[in-house]
Amino acid sequence: MTVGLNEYLALSSALFAIGFFGVLLRKNTLVIYMCLELMLIASTLALVAFSRFNGTVDGNVFVFFILTVAAAEVAVGLAIIVALFRKRQTVQVEELNALKN
């Protein structure tokens, strides 16, 4: 089998980097948030792969927690974004810079 842990890791790191890049690049808060989730998924993927190749189940159990936490985070985050949109009528980060200097 040529596909081993390394390939999974590479994929995971690539996803992580793409997510990070998205956070850097995008101006839309919602999309930024999606990219952050993408980073979490990248970690999850690596975790599952490690768990499988290491033969310990703890990694997989950890994924449960990660998914739960991510879901809670998304809920709160979206609530904040919505509330902010109501106030400011925008979700573009460059317009959300009343706090500075």
Partner: protein, 506 residues
């Protein structure tokens, strides 16, 4: 039933000794009870709920102090190795509860100016405190991550709590994005560590076993990256450069009690975790961790102090000064690698930092108007004349933060610096000293604004008063602030209470 499972359950029942984390359990129950009370009590009686929350926490605190148990310390098997208590974590737990009580009290005052739901505030503060308490005694990355996320998510909510104020929401969003980003990085680090170390059927997310693995495999690339990424996440909590950039914005937007929570508890949690991880778990990798921390520390001290110069908004100011305090604390962490006494110094520092910060925040909350984000130095004009008490407390708090003798902050800094010097970190020490000197400038600028009758441009006829009205100090709050200020002074002269306490925790 599967006999294996039965065995596992009975083992778990043996290991899950809830008594060890009784305070956290009680706090959780207290938090739930608040919600119950909100439902049960009629609207007009709900005013007592915050008082209930505060008293409940005081009871917890009293319980922790008076029925202190050190017999769990060092037990590796608590909760299947999830929890491991040490003298340091015991101290931090008490620390968090004290901070939480103070935050709740500030919350009562601050929320009175807002028309927001109030009960949830206290609920979340208590849950966050519980999470922090678990965080500092976690011995396993799962609990670590979960506690950390609970803390972080709770803070997202608290920061954006005053949703009538768009600035609060904006702060929440900024905290959310940067927090989530740092969580993602942290998580990736954890995953890497787990993956590298987990080959031999060990529970590699357990700190003890991870340390064993790291000690056996020095110089593993993936493990190094994992360590580095975890430190990134911790650095975010501590507020170390370059993960500090969010601080002023978020501190400004958050309501004052939450700013205090961020500045004191969250930062302290970060430092405590940093101490735990860097000094024990990642100790085999100190070869690169120490230089890394040194660079971050130097940058943190310099940036925090320099950026605070000329800052007119006091919340941003306190945020940036907090960055520099994080730097001093990290300095202690670095020193603790060779000088174990630095740990005590850090804890002493944290405690006096707590006192001083709350003295300042206590004053801020009384000076602030409805718009919590708008707290300018100018608003402090003539404070000492109009409210000598607040002025005095502010001066003592700021003086202690600046580390001016005879206030306790000086002793804290001194102990840290002595340890640092003993550890031979001369360059860092010089940076720190320079930082202290620079810091005098802005702390003193604040005192100047409050004390020296020079600033205020008189309000011309017809123009509205730009300064928000000052909240009167209620008697219990006065007593509390006075006590905090007094403690800051007394600890400057007589440090035995804290040092003895720290010694007794073992």
């Amino acid at each position: 039933m599967n006999p294996d499972l039965v065995k596992a359950f009975s083992l778990a029942a043996e290991q899950n000794r809830w008594a060890a984390i009784l305070p956290e359990v009680v706090l959780g129950c207290l938090a739930l009870m608040l919600l119950v009370l909100e439902i049960v009590l009629p609207k007009r009686d709900q005013k007592i709920i915050p008082i209930f929350a505060i008293f409940g926490q005081i009871v917890v605190l009293a319980g922790m102090i008076f029925t202190y148990r050190s017999d769990f310390i060092g037990d590796d098997s608590l909760f299947g190795g999830m929890v491991r208590q040490t003298a340091e974590s015991q101290f931090m737990r008490i620390f968090f509860v004290i901070a939480s009580i103070l935050v709740s009290i500030l919350g009562v005052i601050a929320l009175a100016k807002q028309r927001m739901p109030k009960i949830e505030f206290f609920h979340i503060v208590i849950v966050v405190t519980g999470a922090m308490m678990l965080l500092v005694q976690s011995n396993h990355f799962v609990l670590f991550f979960v506690a950390l996320e609970t803390l972080t998510v709770g803070l997202y909510i608290l920061v954006s709590y005053v949703r009538t104020n768009p600035l609060s929401l904006e702060a929440g969003l900024k905290y959310l994005i940067s927090g989530a980003l740092s969580s993602a990085i942290l998580l990736f680090g954890i995953v890497l560590l787990y993956g590298v170390a987990g080959k031999s059927q060990i529970d590699s997310m357990n700190f003890g076993q991870l340390h064993t693995f790291l000690a056996a495999n020095p110089g593993n690339f993936l493990a190094s990256v994992g360590v580095a990424f975890v430190l990134c996440g911790v650095a975010f909590k501590v507020g170390a450069v370059p993960f500090q950039i969010w601080i002023p914005d978020v501190y400004q937007g958050a309501s004052t009690p939450i700013t205090a929570l961020l500045a004191v508890s969250s930062k302290a949690a970060g430092v405590s975790v940093l101490l735990l991880l860097a000094r024990t778990v990642f100790e085999p990798y100190s070869g690169f961790v120490i230089p890394l921390l040194s660079v971050l520390t130097a940058a943190t001290i310099i940036f925090g102090n320099v950026a605070a110069l000329g800052q007119q908004n006091v919340k941003r100011l306190i945020g940036l000064s907090g960055v520099s305090h994080a730097g001093y604390l990290m300095l202690g962490v670095i020193a603790s690698f060779t000088q174990p006494q630095a740990i005590n110094a850090i804890h002493f520092y944290l405690f006096v930092y707590l006192l001083a910060s709350f003295a300042v925040f206590g004053v801020m909350v009384h000076v602030a108007g409805v718009d919590d984000a708008d707290q300018q130095l100018d608003h402090y004009g003539d404070l000492a004349r109009e409210r000598p008490f607040l002025g005095g407390v502010l001066a003592i708090g700021l003086g202690s933060l600046a580390g001016i003798p005879p206030l306790a902050g000086f002793i804290g800094k001194l102990l840290v610096f002595v340890a640092v010097y003993k550890a031979g970190l001369n360059a860092l020490l010089f940076i720190a000293i320079a930082g202290v000197v620079v810091s005098i400038y802005y702390y003193f600028g604040w005192i100047k604004a409050a004390f020296f009758p020079v600033w205020q441009v008189p309000v011309t006829e017809g123009e509205p008063e730009t300064r928000p009205a000052r909240t009167p100090v209620a008697a219990p709050m006065g007593v509390l602030l006075g006590a905090i200020a007094l403690a800051s002074i007394v600890l400057g002269f007589y440090q035995a209470p804290i040092t003895a306490w720290l010694a007794a925790l073992h």
